[in-house]
Symmetry: C2
Subunit: 249 residues, 2 copies
Amino acid sequence: MAQVLDLNSIRSVLVRLEDTIIFSLIERAQFSRNARTYEPGAFATELLGWQGSWLEWILLGTEQFQSKARRYQSPDEYPFSKESDLPEPVLPPLEYEPVLHEPAITNVNDKIMAFYTHDIVPSITKSGDDLNYGSTATRDVETLQAVSRRVHYGMFVSESKYRADTETFNKAIKAKDVKTLESLITKPEVEAALLKRLERKARHYGQDESQGGSLHDMKVDPEVVVRMYRDHVIPLTKQVEVEYLLKRL
Amino acid sequence: MAQVLDLNSIRSVLVRLEDTIIFSLIERAQFSRNARTYEPGAFATELLGWQGSWLEWILLGTEQFQSKARRYQSPDEYPFSKESDLPEPVLPPLEYEPVLHEPAITNVNDKIMAFYTHDIVPSITKSGDDLNYGSTATRDVETLQAVSRRVHYGMFVSESKYRADTETFNKAIKAKDVKTLESLITKPEVEAALLKRLERKARHYGQDESQGGSLHDMKVDPEVVVRMYRDHVIPLTKQVEVEYLLKRL
């Protein structure tokens, strides 16, 4: 089996991404809410009629450039912008061993964008507008991209589990039995351990070490990080995993 | 005095940047050395004759885009690329209260690039090439930009100290007395405390919390972070501070 489908190696990627996501949230939380950056058309004058939000404009520019650096050739990277708006890579494609079944893409970035802007940003920032729109959007892009990678990595989880017990999965897939597929890929004790670990990490990284590690004044509320995973990241990953399996045959 | 020149507020920016810099180094250390991304002309074929390095190409693209989002209107942000290669902002300029004396710019980014690529990257990465050139450069850009902001922030330190004791500084500036200027802006006990704090932070953030916080397997060697500040960041900041003062009158 390809190394990328080894469950231990998948796990280490996902665990590592937890750190990246917490770091990014901490970085974002330095700035005010800056609600204007999320409003469609709020910068139409400056951006020559652009009807999306400031964040979407920054995302598009970032993704257009990263697309040239072949980011979206990687099977675990999916853009927030329309694929048709992105240029071709300038580098020759990396020779990825094809591990996912085609068509694999189940892009749920619109849902990630929705919960992030509506639920998470208001929960980790102080209200108001500090005019740091560029810095804000840069941090938002980093967080969104890390969360997106985390969620879409579910396809590797599915493929790995599918290969380990093809027969059982095939039966459920043919019957379009979503409930059984969900139970085949869900391990409640793993999820519980994940949320505990996440809480510990957020508390750890969020401490103000400048003061010798005092516990008040966390840079980001650990509860919000846990809630983000419990209510959004884990359910969305599961959705990606199941949709991938339903298209597997 | 403008709030940005309050020494406490300057200090909190610098202390906060320590976290950002350590986070960025940890993120970079996930990937291999990828020496090819630092070699001038190594991607000339793919990048249509580009004679700089892959990292410089990514920097230019990133900075061109961020320049549109008015990053370089901010008095604490300086580009690595040539200013003449950067487009005008699309947003109207933020009304920064002018706090630095003009001409303020002492851009030492070439020196930051040199110590980062020659000393720091080889010290925090495992040797070899994992072909993740896009990810590598993205992390490099984040680290370089954070370090650059840290170093150039020295101009605010200088201006703040200058305003607090104009007469003493004027005398040294007129005499081009670099030694005295250095001693006026240097506080050995503050530097010693900084290096201690940095070591503690790097150790704290670099622990693998997934394992419950074991001390082996640090994600980045705290000694390298301390060395980077002691041998590079602090001396370069001092150079920026002194050069700023020499142009102050």
